[in-house]
Subunit: 270 residues, 4 copies
């Protein structure tokens, strides 16, 4: 374990120079690709105090010693549920970005949380606030438009098409349209010998562009007679996930129980 602040955090109280009300945050998987970004994001964030950075060789006891109130987990599928169990049992809230959570793991964690009523756990497959909002807005708008199609654009080293986010967006859009009784988008295409019209996912046409220089980008195009609504998200760098991680840390303390997906913390009102 590496103490991440100077002077070192003391269990007895916050370090000099931080406010008593600062939220005490630890990062697990602190030397990984995402974890190291999380370490820096917590350091930069107002009102958060980084009290521990742990990696796989460190003991979880350090979380307790450091007085962590929230732990951010960017580890690996094989250990993430155990980490969360330890934290919850010690009254520490969790923000989890590690992949690999299935229904069973989520159910076990929910059962555990029932015994620790004040503790919150957020398990989020995508911490990009922009991507989460783009999906939400696409689904909300889908039933008001005659036509919807999705174009996703990524770097050319990506092996699958369409992207998972595009497929998920198409599923949400398709579901929203069916629920509202909206028929399929009109399409008079009769000749398309080479497949230019792309994939059809849940009734929605999806197009995948692969271009050197790009990172991860997506557009939902919605059309009515005489108008178009476009919702586009550009992800230029994985640092973009950190805005969502910090939001998660701030919100998890007031959201006891299990939350699956960042969208439930984005109170979009009506």
């Amino acid at each position: 374990m590496t103490d991440s602040t100077a002077p070192a955090p003391q269990p007895s109280g916050p370090a000099a120079g931080t406010l008593p009300s600062d939220l005490r945050v630890a990062v697990l998987g602190a030397r990984g690709r995402m974890g190291s970004e999380a370490v820096q994001a917590v350091r930069r964030a107002e009102g958060l105090q980084l009290v521990a950075e742990l990696d796989h060789e460190d003991s979880l006891e350090a979380l307790v010693t450091a007085g962590a109130q929230v732990v951010v987990d960017f580890t690996v599928p094989s250990v993430t549920e155990g980490n969360v169990r330890f934290a919850v049992e010690h009254g520490i809230h969790c923000v989890v970005g590690t992949t690999g959570w299935d229904e069973e793991g989520l159910a076990r964690t929910e059962a555990l949380l029932a015994q620790h009523p004040g503790v919150g756990v957020l398990v989020a497959p995508n911490f990009s606030i922009g991507a989460v909002l783009a999906m939400r807005f696409s689904a909300q708008a889908a039933r008001f438009f005659e036509s919807v199609e999705i174009v996703e654009l990524h770097h050319p080293d990506k092996v699958d098409a369409p992207s998972g986010t595009a497929a998920r967006t198409a599923a949400l859009v398709g579901e929203a349209r069916r629920a509202a009784g909206v028929g399929p988008s009109p399409d008079a295409t009769k000749q398309d010998p080479d497949g230019a019209r792309g994939a059809v996912v849940d009734g929605v046409h999806v197009h995948s562009v692969r271009l050197r220089g790009l990172v991860a980008h997506q557009e939902t195009l919605l059309g009515n007679l005489g108008e178009q609504l476009t919702i586009r998200h550009d992800s230029f760098d994985r640092i973009s996930f950190m805005t969502g991680v910090v939001l998660g840390v701030r919100e998890v303390v007031s959201h006891p129980g299990l939350t699956h997906g960042l969208e439930d913390y984005l109170d979009l009102g009506l």
Copy 2:
């Protein structure tokens, strides 16, 4: 008055070829720019039956004779409130696109509606569903991003800059950010001798492009470290307003009382 269906509508029942459940709709200002579009939109819309097209020389009694259940008003500021009063007093719902309604007129109409509890009136300054959604989404997303700016693009015959919709969007964005305690968008600009940074409306930078070939277009750009969310609306033709008019006609019958703005009919859920 011009009867708009053949055979002419009879107060005693729907015309041959329409279903008993069709909603009987009349258009006021039927020969105007917007009214004539509304006439055609009602004709095209499934489940709606056009029963009267009136213009300024016609008597409002024709609404009653024709058995109208909903009246669409695209007339002029000087007569629109009187038209609505007549309709409400005869139990006819109203969808109003005429401009010039002020707080007093709305209050008087609300008072009138209190005496006619089953009747609904929708007064909407903008019937473009895409524009209404773009504004809504911009305001919802605004507090999750460090930066927000607005670019609006119109034909070069427009005399004012920025557009009313852009100013309204900036106001909603600014209000959402203040309510959430989000500070101003970062901006290190020190040298801008010619005003390239555009207008600042409610704390939000707004840029107005005027270009031959365009109609009415707007982008809200939202940025965080490593990501961008763009919400763009393109209005290519005023026919785009008709989707909103038809939606209003369908919804007004189940929304008694006064509704101001189409957004309240767009149940965007959570």
Copy 3:
């Protein structure tokens, strides 16, 4: 035949109110979709004088009587070559937008022009200056980028995919890359069960979006490490072709012989 100016054009000289140097222009197919736009475009254009509007029942002799110097042909494939022959034999330049010209017809016209050395004929499949420039720029840029893909977007009543312009652009891009020895765009796609990667035309991925509200739009996306160049053309209305028609009329008088394609009149320099 309908004389289109008042007072009627006199073979003896320009009408009052026009300059002696105004170019005297006639339109064939003047009541058709494109021809009627051409009539209005010529009327609006500075330096051009509309001297005759002819449709299929009119005699071509009227061109001579009216003193036309340039004839614009938007007729039908079966008569266009005959119209051009008549015009050339009477020393009248031609701007031809009628489709259906094949290699034989072009060759015959070229041979005819060899006997009338001062006369120019422009046969153009596409009068949209923006579309022509977009194709040209795409082809010019293609060899400097690792990746190129094309996205075309049209109204949903279009029956073929991809569009002819997109296929033509892909062919030009592919040809430019092969000539420069540039390999195919990188693509690591291994799983694409539904065809999201679109069509491959001349080695270039082409994607076709069909969306209510759109007219005709196309983007060429070019990518290198860390950068993207996008060339987009939006066609909102067929009036856009008229800028090219007017340019053609002005230029044909100084381009004797046969010219195929508007691009040769766009002197893009170096």
Copy 4:
């Protein structure tokens, strides 16, 4: 000086594993921000062999010892001209990205090159091929459109508005329009109390957006009745300059004399 290849380059011939025909390239300023990117770009590039990486404490004699055929200079204004003089006098071609060259320095270098007829020097203010092409295409297209405006978008730490590239593009566009006798873009704006219409540079409206998450982006918007042409360049990372540097290295050996600006190496043909 740091030898950059293993085994170290020998003046007597190319290192093992490289082809005799590989171009032998040295980088000056090799530890700087741009120089270190250039070192890696040369290493990655097929047909180029990195033979020396020098920084300010190293002697220029090492260029000769290493048998460099081309030197890439990313140093500082105070030494760049001296570096070029040394290289030219030793028959080494130069690709210069260092800023600060004025007319006098360029003239002196041109005079020097007159005495060394086989040697080429490229001094380029911008090595982004995409940006150079975007400027070129904007200028070429400018005279064919009624309206032109420029929108540039950058990160919010930028201190000046508009960007130098936008101002340069506006100057080229303005010049092209004046040369062709094209008047100003139409603009009916009468009320713009807050300056939403942006800056006017050489008769062209320029708008500057500053948004967290962005790097450097620019759009030229060109409009005619019914159509729009958009030329957009996105620079996501300074690595994008390296494609231009490598192109410069490959071309400088066959372009003797002084070349100012990468565009002269982009043979865009007609």
